[in-house]
Amino acid sequence: MIYDALWLVPLLPLIGFVCLTLLGGWLSRRAMAVLGVGSVALATALAFTIGYTFLTRPPATGHCTEVIGSWLAVGNLHVRFGLYLDALALVMMLVVTGVGLLIHLYSATFMAADSGYRRYFAYLNLFVASMLMLVLADNLLLLYLGWEMVGLCSYLLIGHDYADPVNGRAARKAFVVTRIGDAALLVGLLLLLAHWGTLQIQPLLGLAAQGWANGSALATVAAALLLTGAVGKSAQLPLQVWLPDAMAGPTPVSALIHAATMVTAGVYLIARLHTLFELAPAVQHAVAALGALTLLLASCSALLQRDIKRILAYSTISQIGYMFLALGVGAYAAALFHLMTHACFKAVLFLSAGVVINALDEEHDIYHMGGLGRQLPGTSLAFLTGAASLAALPLVSAGFYSKGLILAQTWNAPGMGVWLWTGGILGTLLTAIYIFRAFFVAFLGRPKSHARCGATAAEAVALVVLAALSVTAGFVEIPAGLGGGVQAFTGLVASALPPGPQPAHTGNLPALLELIASLTAVAGVLTAYYFFRYRPPAATAAGAHPITAAVGRLWQSGWGFDWAYERLFVRPLVMFTRANRHDAVDALFTGIAAGSRALHRGLSRTQTGRVRWYAAGIACGSFILIALMVLP
């Protein structure tokens, strides 16, 4: 049975990593690329074969488990290397391997001039292996292992060009900030282990659903800890500060790790453990509120960035905000659907931005670009496709279908659904404005610089495939408002995830919601066209007013989170460590040393060489001794 080969999917990239690490010295650059890309290609082929089998002949129970071996057996705790494949894991596996393969292929020529070529591919392979382990793990400890390993790979790859201290600083920041979430996640896992005595995900969820009352305190605490972990990894408020700085890494790394896969691990975690979150309604509402808030704040920040990669970074934060919003209202399938389309269109945006940056000799500022549409037509078209999908332009983009599904289900959510929906619609408007601002400024207009080279063949393949997916990936799910009928995606994941909120009444409402979302997106594009293409002075004038200028500075700095964290946490900690540089406990021992040194200095004072003083000393000493003997 093909499912028995499931363990090969994470193992193949791991073998690639080991080979690249151990044999690297003897490999030519070509062999490195073949090994690095080949291992992921084999894993991808296998994953898609498994996916095909899953679609045509799904397992009877809707999932299959494969145990490779035992990992830990201590007392009552048994942890095994077990893989669990259901529709949720399948979608994640296909996204990770598919997008991963295209980005590996792209990297093969994109990084060709880099001196750390072998290191790069080794870490990228390790990342894919870890990410696959994360999504396929059947117990939480194995999931946590993958979770930490992707964090490690993220750190290593952000700091790939370690010669520049800025990159090292960004890597450390990413590592430390996500670690805050990771620590909370670990505490949450241990809490679950202590309470239920198992880390196997499915039995654990079954026990929790039966044993914990809805809204019980322990369930709330556990869900809140898991949410903190997800927030850290997925760069949501208030731990989103690391992602914009993580753009210091190579562009394909930003595409793979910081847009398509790793940052969506938090979404996967919540979807995987959705039973727990449903037991804690307060936490689930917090998920939705956090998502809505994050998507708005990040969109505002993206509006004012000049660095093309930072625009995309803020846009990633904001799109994951949409996914959290969907998770919070229980629309798990919609979140996963958006995760999939987002992986495609954000990857194509990053990869085409990479080609542009490379062609303009490391120019990141969109205001120093311009007129790239004529110089790099193919790349510009790819960027436009991605931008259209991100802005959710109606009908022709994948993002329209996934974002539409999220918005429709948010509207139907009981409670504050309408408010969340309003936030989502506002986010759609901002998204369309900021991404088309980047497009109009950088790709249209008067050329400001000369493009040195276009995309290579390998890069073009990745761009074409991802651009095609950015258009077509949405067609698997045609919303009810547009006639409905096609529900391939939600049908697939229905075996793993509960259906989202259903409309209380139908009629014209779904179609109306789709229409509003479509018009909002188009309005955003037109706004961007007016301010950044038709009459750029209008944008300058709007930004010149003192109030808008102040707001603009606030937004550009990411709402001052970095500023506040620097003062609240970083500086006090640095001061504390500086004060305690010489360990406080050490004071006892250095004190003894200093005391004996002072004693030595005092006593050596008495060695003056004055004979009569010595005689006096002897006399006094004798006098005292005799007195002591005689007097008592």
Binding site: R610, A616, A619
Partner: protein
């Protein structure tokens, strides 16, 4: 002839010893210091003799002879040191030899 009380003799020895010690501590001239030491030695010798006389034992006088021998040796070494001091520093002031800067 009335016997002199032991206390008086011991008092004389103590006064002699104190005078010798004062000489050693107060005088800078090394020759006088040597003389002070001689006086202290003789004060000790006097105390031994007094003890011997008091208990009618010969030990006191034996020890006095020992002290005489020690004093003779001390003077020979001491005078040699005086000559060396004078030779090296051109003075008989002990403080001239103060070279340690403790």
């Amino acid at each position: 002839m009335a016997e002199i009380p032991l206390t008086h003799g011991l008092l004389l020895a103590v006064i002699l010893f104190a005078l010798g010690l004062l000489t050693v501590l107060a005088r800078r001239n090394v020759v006088f210091i040597l003389m002070g030491i001689e006086i202290m030695l003789n004060a000790a010798g006097l105390a031994f003799v007094l003890g011997g006389a008091r208990w009618g034992a010969p030990d006191g006088q034996v020890l006095f002879i020992l002290i005489l021998a020690v004093a003779a040796a001390e003077v020979s070494v001491g005078l040699a040191l005086v000559l060396q001091l004078h030779h090296r520093f051109g003075s008989v002031d002990v403080d001239a030899a103060r070279q340690m800067r403790g």
